[in-house]
């Protein structure tokens, strides 16, 4: 029989580690993690007779995807959300990258001023941004139509926020206007961290200007672009405020601007005649959770591992 090995004298319990970690871990677990799983769990129940909670398995999901009234609204919101995201990827991030590339020109004067000014919309609340653009685009006030008249394209003006076919795109562009500063800042930081030797070596080889950007700088900042894409994705699929402020909980006209966030709010909280339903709300939140989880995992395992990183 093997002798039980003598234990090394254990170091005393290091209580300070627990003390340092406890407040953050407790609050985070109690207010974020437990409710998150609580919500996932609630989606498996429904309100039975007499207000008692009844376990129904996946029936809520069957309703959400199967019942035409629910599934129509759900797929509409998902499709709109996807378009919202596509506009951000096609407009916001390229503009952010282009502006960052220009800003990082060596010895550019007033660079700090431009940076500070272009970031200002990102710090304003959605309430401000939504209303500012609502006023500017309002045919009543006439700032936008007059401005377009001055450019000679006055005929193109339409009350974009009120039209079904243009409202969502207009809102997405307003959101782009607000948040362009964020990719700008992150890309700018990444461009500044490219060592001068690399760029000097490129110049020796005659690679300058635009071709230097495409061949040297862009490959080096690809990981940052990846992070920006995933941040945009999470932010967009969690968006709510801008829609609520400009179009209300009904996400008009005729649900044309309904995205998952506003759909969740209506389902959970109710509006006008429809009563709020916490269990269907939890079901929508669960589906959103899996959409975001899928996006994040796709990025972490599919994209990030394939990006080549360079160490200087």
């Amino acid at each position: 029989m093997p002798q039980p090995r003598r234990r090394a004298p254990r170091s005393p319990v290091r209580w300070h580690i627990a003390v340092f970690l406890a407040p953050a871990v407790l609050i985070y677990t109690a207010i974020m993690i437990i409710p998150l799983f609580g919500t996932l769990n609630l989606s498996l129940f429904t309100r039975g007779e007499g207000g008692a909670r009844e376990f129904v398995g996946l029936a809520n999901f069957a309703t959400l995807f199967g019942d035409p009234r629910w599934s129509g609204a759900f797929w509409n919101a998902t499709g709109n959300n996807l378009w919202f995201f596509v506009i951000h990827m096609l407009v916001q991030n390229p503009i952010g990258i282009a502006l960052a590339a220009i800003l990082s020109t060596p010895r550019l004067r007033f660079a700090a001023f431009y940076r500070t000014a272009i970031f200002i919309p990102a710090i304003l609340s959605f309430v401000i941004v939504g209303f500012v653009w609502k006023l500017i685009l309002s045919p009543l006030w006439g700032v936008a139509p007059n401005f377009m008249d001055a450019l000679g394209v006055g005929n193109w003006f339409a009350p974009w926020l009120g039209l079904e076919r243009s409202a969502l795109t207009t809102l997405a562009l307003i959101s782009v206007w607000q948040f362009v500063g964020i990719p700008l800042m992150l890309i700018y930081a990444a461009l500044l961290s490219i060592p001068d030797e690399v760029l000097e070596a490129a110049e020796m080889d005659g690679i300058t200007g635009a071709s230097q950007f495409w061949k040297i700088k862009l490959p080096l900042i690809l990981p940052t672009i990846g992070i920006i894409s995933i941040l945009t994705f999470v932010g967009n699929f969690n968006a709510f405020d801008l829609i609520y402020v400009t179009q209300g909980a009904l996400a008009g006209p005729n649900y044309a601007t309904d995205i998952l966030g506003s759909f969740l709010f209506r389902t959970f909280f109710g509006f006008q005649l429809q009563l709020g339903d916490p269990h269907m709300g939890a079901t929508v939140a669960t589906v959103m959770f899996f959409i975001i989880l899928a996006g994040v995992s796709l990025y972490l395992f599919g994209v990030q591992t394939r990006l080549r990183r360079y160490q200087f």
Binding site: I17, V19, F20, L21, P23, A24, V25, I27, I31, M32, I33, I34, P35, G38, T39, N41, L42, I102, T105, L108, Y114, R115, A117, I118, F119, I120, I123, L124, S125, V127, I128, V132, L135, I136, G142, V143, N146, W177, M185, Y188, A189, S193, T208, G209, I230, V234, N238, D241, Y244, G261, F265, F268, F269, P278, G281, A282, A285, F289, I292, V296
Partner: protein, 278 residues
């Protein structure tokens, strides 16, 4: 490269940047200048600055008389400052523990805390409301402070632990030899050294809290606990036809954020470019 091509290139760069700066700032400026004009001038000539004839502060009078803005502002301040305090203190403590000590489960704990960076806390709203109802915290500022503290912690721990790792070991070991407790080392050595990073984290934490509409709407919609964002949203909805009042309310809402931003912007940009977010 010839000097002329250089000048051409830099003027093109300035032209693009100026154009974009105008696009970013003009809508804001337009609101501010029109908030100080009479109703007629707002409509007849929206693009001009207020002159002696058109200068009129009637909108601001309406806002200050009708809205409870002082209270809303106070609520927003309490919620933002308290959440910020807890995020920075608890975040720095956890970051110090993760960066400083080797213990079983260290990496797992770091990953667990980082989970919240990617998964938005809003998805737990249904259960959060239930908890707050059970704890009798609905329509209190405490509910908002708790939620925002939880929301801010993951990113704070993540960024601060990067910086905590850079605090010199020699310094801490010297302090240990002098008999300082771990708590004293944290408060007197580590915390002061990561102050620049704390400022960056502070700004990143503060902006979404100050601007949030979702949780005030769901957890604290009562008149006594409305935040400035929720209060102005409701005020704007009610006074939507009173353009003077709407423009004045917007101006009052823009002002504090922009002032705070201009104070912290240097710190913010330095923090980003120092490589906290790589």
């Amino acid at each position: 490269m010839s000097a002329r091509a250089n000048i051409l290139r830099s003027s093109a760069a300035h032209a693009i940047l100026i154009a974009y700066t105008v696009l970013a700032l003009y809508p804001v400026v337009l609101i501010v200048i029109n908030s100080m004009k009479s109703r007629r001038a707002i409509f007849n000539d929206p693009l001009s600055l207020p002159t002696r004839e058109t200068f009129d502060l009637v909108g601001f009078h309406t806002v200050l008389e009708q809205g409870n803005f002082l209270l809303y502002f106070q609520n927003s301040m309490i919620v933002t400052v308290a959440s910020l305090f807890f995020v920075l203190l608890f975040g720095a403590m956890a970051a110090f523990a993760l960066a400083e000590y080797r213990f079983r489960g260290n990496l797992l704990m770091a990953l667990y805390l980082a989970l919240g960076i990617m998964i938005p806390i809003r998805l737990g709203t249904v259960a959060i409301l239930e908890i707050m109802v059970a704890a009798n915290l609905v329509n209190t500022l405490t509910a908002l402070i708790l939620v925002y503290t939880a929301q801010g912690l993951p990113l704070a721990v993540f960024i601060l632990s990067e910086f905590m790792r850079q605090v010199s070991d020699d310094l801490k070991n010297a302090a240990r030899i002098d008999g300082l407790s771990e708590y004293r080392i944290f408060f007197t050595i580590a915390l002061p050294l990561v102050r620049p990073a704390m400022a960056t984290v502070g700004v990143f934490t503060m902006i979404p809290i100050w601007n949030d509409l979702w949780f005030p709407l769901i957890l604290a919609p009562g008149e006594a606990t409305k935040t400035l964002t929720l209060g102005s949203q409701i005020f704007l909805g009610q006074y939507v036809t009173n353009w003077n009042a709407v423009l004045a309310a917007l101006t009052l809402a823009i002002f504090p954020v922009v002032v705070l931003y201009l104070i912290f912007s240097r710190q913010l940009i330095r923090g980003i470019t120092k490589g906290a977010v790589k």
